[in-house]
Point group: C2
Chain length 247, copies 2
DNA sequence: GAGTGGTCTAGACCACTCA
DNA sequence: GAGTGGTCTAGACCACTCA
């Protein structure tokens, strides 16, 4: 046990202890007190640190497990959930063409630091002078473009991503957000509609101008509810397949 | 306390007590031991009945709360969740036209007991001789049809629904499944794609033959994982809007 | 065998609801 | 004030992991 003279700082004292402890642990996880995949101190140690019974500490842990922040493995320990696993559920856009075994190949067509367009500014809650990192990515299978993604990220938080992407082309971005920029995603919302394809996307899909496509607008937030990414993707109508499971 | 000489029957003895108790309570809820909205016995009484400590009983209850089976209200009691609330999350198909305040009007165009088509037979896990109850419903706003729903239900379980719907036209079916047929829905999956509208639907939408529409295929299951409903809905592409929130 | 999390107990005390 | 669920304790014992 570290010689910690100060008792652990706890949040709002009106909350029950187990929620104060959850908040404090959450704060430490977000502050990267433990790296993704590293074990937290044991129940006994944390209970001693917070001066509560093990039962109360377990209750705090239980909430964090429900929220997908940590994972507990019997006999081994308690671990911070990898962002990759936490957002696995987000990757449920399938493609009619795509064989289940083959992963579509990702390509980054554009990486730009830009002034923030008004639409993205609203979604990301940015001031007009703040810049964004804009990415244009595609997913293809056998040379056929299946998905065209326009991604808007607050440049301040994602400055490191720019240089990283100029040297690497990872198939999935979310794990990179975590490992390179220390950004953990916790919530997302998709909004689907059918629209004429923008010209750039239509030509990528080799579709005539104004051909219909499905537009998928995704907004993602971190644990504190701050918007982290705004993404507008297009698929051709014949390639579109989207599966949602509820409960 | 009822003079119950037999101790409560519990399931698989290899499971921890709290899971055995959850299973038994689940069984009673499904068997309609308490009607929707009725209070279960208190923690103390159930703990006594199952001969466990209150803590263990609370743990069993906790799982049922997580599963959305029951709701606990501090100071009042524990209640079986209304199917209506449990499936509220399923009603997230919006319509571009629809003002948020106005509820689209439901109309039932067809109610038929039919031989089961092969597609529905697979989805509902029925034998070839078993019949289905087929419903064709529309949702409209200001005389404009927004959604056309083709619903396939196992006739055996939904026999009462047929007569009910010939006399009533409820805006939502799921609460009726519960109150009239005693069927509780617990899981659902949607699969979206873009297809040419079937002729019947195209004419309802006043669209030309083979116009594109969005097809929403929904499969619903009860608590035991048995398929309960198979539903194929169509929306015109310009009316389509679908929102999913994750986590 | 040392260390971890999982189950379970038997109680105390508190907060909320409703008559 | 009687009845309900919510928080918390201090312990016992068990099951799993890993060296």
């Amino acid at each position: 046990m570290p010689a910690q003279t100060q008792p652990a700082a706890l949040t709002d004292r009106r909350l029950p202890r187990y929620l104060q402890i959850r908040d404090e642990l959450m704060r430490r996880i977000c502050a990267r007190a433990w790296t993704t995949g590293e074990a937290l101190p044991s129940e006994d140690k944390l209970a001693a640190e917070f001066s509560v019974s093990v039962g109360t500490l377990r209750k705090a842990m239980g909430v964090l497990v429900e929220d997908g922040m940590i994972e507990r493995i019997h006999g081994r320990g308690t671990f911070v959930t990898r962002a990759f696993e936490r957002i696995s559920m987000l990757r449920f856009v399938g493609f009619s063409l795509a064989a289940e075994h083959e992963l579509p190949q990702a390509a980054t067509l554009k990486i730009q630091v830009r002034h923030t367009p008004i639409s993205a500014r609203k979604k990301l809650g940015l001031q007009s002078q703040e810049k964004i990192l804009y990415l244009h990515r595609t997913r293809s299978l056998g040379g056929v473009v299946l998905l065209s993604e326009h991604i808007y990220l607050p440049h301040q938080k994602f400055a490191k991503l720019e240089t990283y992407l100029r040297e690497n082309s990872p198939p999935l971005l979310y794990p990179i957000y975590d490992s390179v920029c220390g950004v953990l995603i916790s919530q997302a919302a998709d909004e689907l509609s059918v629209r004429p394809l923008p010209d750039i996307d239509a030509s990528l899909f080799k579709q005539p101008q104004n051909a219909l496509g499905v537009r998928i607008e995704r907004t993602m937030e971190d644990h504190s509810g701050l918007p982290i990414e705004w993404r507008v993707s297009y698929v051709t109508t014949d390639q579109f397949k989207y599966v949602v499971e509820m409960r």
